[in-house]
């Protein structure tokens, strides 16, 4: 089953899984069971059977609490991590199994932007060098003058004065550094940009500047985004669709307007109710009680059951699958399926 109904997706992940081995000493991995000593490696189940597709021109936002697997999904898609199982497809081609030469064209078409632009910019390279490097890498033999034109063009596009090209990253503010990181992604004419919390570290007035820049790039260059954020007002503004993750599992996937007007999954409902409102004096915030499980000891049944006020025996035993709702949303919840949420 593919996650949703969007025609031929530009990017698609199918049954994607990622487990990380926990660093443990050899002795800690030994278990004594039924008269035998066995070796058991404990693992972090960071991403569990996630399937979804992203259509050309979309901005799919991924939300969920910290540690729910957002960055891992982003890195799997961008090819910075290899899936434990499942697959990643770009425009119909399976890419997670490619390497070297075969992967190169996809490396260019898919670019990634990170939360901390300082960490992702080389402090010893000038902005000019930083921006030229990917152009030279991906467009071999492009004449020098054209490389420089390209760099000047993207600098203007992101609102950084090309006269500053000889400066180093530390000479720029956080917002300007994020513009430069975006410029670097744009120099190679990507089609698809994975942005992992690109504005979370910035102040409100600077967030607006960078978000506008990304919207502009979307309109003018026809970009498709996978956009990770924990700020739901940004999701509502920027996203065309939203995927809600909990404990590495997809619990809801819907059009942005649908999700905000009519959140279905108990976790999505709680999440939306928790956003502090600017003008509403009487928020009806849904308090979540109960232990937050870790992705090391994955619970059986529904991953949200320990904090869910609708959980019953079935939720404890059987994991809910994403099921399509009449308005096209996908929701993985037994209570929604059984229509006992009211």
């Amino acid at each position: 089953m593919r996650g949703d109904d969007i025609g031929q997706p530009l990017l698609e992940i199918r049954h994607l899984e990622k487990r990380f081995a926990l660093d443990q000493g050899f002795l800690e991995t030994l278990r004594f069971r039924k008269g035998h000593i066995t070796r058991e490696r404990r693992e972090v189940h960071a991403v569990n059977d996630v399937s979804l597709g992203i259509a050309r021109g979309e901005a799919l936002c991924v939300v969920g609490e910290s540690g729910c697997g957002k960055s891992t999904v982003a890195r799997l898609i961008a090819g910075l991590l290899t899936p434990s199982s499942g697959s990643v497809h770009y425009d119909g081609t399976r890419i997670d199994t490619l390497s070297g030469r075969a992967l190169r064209p996809f490396r260019r078409k898919m670019q990634m932007i990170f939360q901390n632009p300082y960490a992702s910019l080389n402090p010893r390279m000038t902005i000019q060098q930083t921006l030229e490097e990917p152009v030279r890498n991906h467009f071999h033999g492009l004449p020098r003058a054209q490389v420089e034109d390209k760099v000047a063009e993207v600098m203007r596009a992101v609102g950084v004065d090309p006269n500053w090209a000889k400066r180093y990253p530390h000479e720029f503010s956080g917002g300007q550094r994020q513009r430069i990181a975006i410029a670097r992604a744009l120099t190679v004419d990507p089609d698809f940009v994975v942005a992992d919390e690109p504005i979370s570290a910035l102040d409100v007035s600077i967030q607006a500047q960078v978000l506008n820049l990304m919207l502009e790039a979307k309109d003018e260059r026809g970009l498709t985004y996978l956009f990770i954020t924990h700020d739901l007002s940004v999701v509502q503004h920027f996203g065309t669709r939203v995927a809600v993750l909990y404990l590495g599992t997809l619990c809801e996937l819907a059009d942005t307007a649908t999700l905000f007007a009519n959140p279905r999954h108990p976790y999505t409902k709680a999440l939306l109710s928790a956003v502090p409102q600017l003008k509403d004096d009487h928020p009806n915030h849904i308090r979540l009680r109960g232990e937050i499980p870790t992705p090391i000891n994955m619970p059986t049944g529904c991953p949200f059951k320990s904090r869910c006020s609708y959980a019953n025996d079935r939720c404890g035993a059987e994991q809910p699958r994403p099921l399509r709702q009449p308005d096209g949303a996908l929701v993985a919840c037994h209570a929604v399926e059984e229509d006992r949420l009211g």
Binding site: D203, V204, S205, A208, L211, L232, Q236
Partner: protein, 331 residues
């Protein structure tokens, strides 16, 4: 009478080549049980204000002038010894990172008992009883067991609850909370804020809540100070400031929020950045980014002046307001 009264507070930093001014004449009053927010972008001077109230500015920073009157004492000019009876006792502070306050090598119980015994003569058993009661007050399940645990064994949200329990241990009159939930997930943030609000209300504790999140300020506080480049540029009832901001910077901050624009449309952005302390322009510190700037803004610093229900430091707001008043009088 107000619990806290800050007057003309000036904090400077002596840097190698020059001395810069981080707080430039801050004045405000806070009543008993009142909750006040301080908002503004990073570098505005919010945290420095919190530290200066407790006289915790350390070198190269110093309180250059001004007063911090707390219950008849001027904390800006009080001996360290006297301050120790105030800090953590009558004024508690909560930071973004709980590990600033928590000692990683002591159990929660040891830290709570130590804090209590430092200010009260209590037996260990009695101190533990109070600790358990406070943990229960902040809805920590199985509080007796938590006393035996170390900070790293707890989640971020749980740690911040424990910090609130520690802040409440000595029944303070004022809590200064500096971005207490910025590092936490939104569902956990909502729980912690609700808890803080409930505790302040039921114990009549005053709160200074420092945050960059206007939504949080709106939910939590009765009054708000908006800071920019070391100055208060607008202050008044939180509702009034959110619903009808007067200062162009406050207006810009609120208009820049994504929920103020239709999905997919360009956000209304404030151009430029807040200046570094060493490069604050003459006149109104906001003038290079402001769309209403006139000549006077580049030369003369606007004072905070009452305009309707708020106080605003802006020449143009004051002029427009005078003009409407004159119109009303002639009409």
């Amino acid at each position: 009478m107000s619990l806290l009264s800050v007057r003309d507070l000036v904090v400077k930093f002596a840097m190698r080549d020059q001395t810069v001014t981080a707080l430039n004449g801050i004045s405000f009053d806070l009543n008993r049980g009142e909750r006040m927010g301080i908002v503004g972008e990073s570098g505005a001077g919010k945290s420095i204000t919190g530290f200066a109230i407790l006289n915790l500015i350390s070198r190269p920073g110093f309180i250059d002038s001004g007063h911090v009157m707390f219950d008849g004492m001027d904390l800006a000019h009080t001996s360290d010894k006297a301050l120790r009876t105030i800090r953590g006792n009558r004024i508690a502070m909560i930071f973004q990172d709980p590990m600033v306050t928590l000692n990683p090598v002591l159990t929660i119980g040891q830290q709570m008992v130590e804090t209590l015994q430092a200010h009260r003569s209590l037996t260990r058993r009695d101190a533990e009883k109070i600790a358990v009661a406070k943990l229960r007050e902040v809805y920590i399940p199985a509080p007796e067991e938590r006393l035996q645990q170390y900070p790293h064994e707890l989640s971020g949200g749980m740690r911040q609850r424990i910090i609130i329990a520690i802040a409440l241990l000595l029944d303070p009159q004022l809590i200064i909370a500096d971005e207490p939930t910025t590092a936490l997930d939104v569902t956990i943030q909502a729980d912690i804020m609700e808890l803080l609000l409930e505790l302040c209300q039921s114990n009549n504790v005053s709160l200074i809540l420092i945050t960059h999140d206007l939504g949080v300020v709106s939910q939590m506080t009765e009054r708000t100070l908006v800071m920019y480049a070391g100055r208060i540029i607008e202050s008044g009832r939180t509702r009034a400031i959110i619903n009808d901001p007067q200062h162009p910077y406050t207006q810009g901050l609120i208009k820049a929020l994504p929920q103020q624009t239709l999905p997919g449309e360009r956000l209304k952005q404030i151009p430029g950045n807040m200046p570094a302390l060493s490069a604050i322009p003459p006149g109104c510190p906001f003038n290079p980014r402001c769309e209403y700037t006139v000549d006077r803004c580049r030369t003369t610093i606007p004072e905070l002046v009452r305009v309707g229900p708020v106080e605003v430091a802006c020449h143009e707001v004051q002029r427009m307001n005078r003009d409407t008043e004159t119109e009303e009088q002639t009409a």
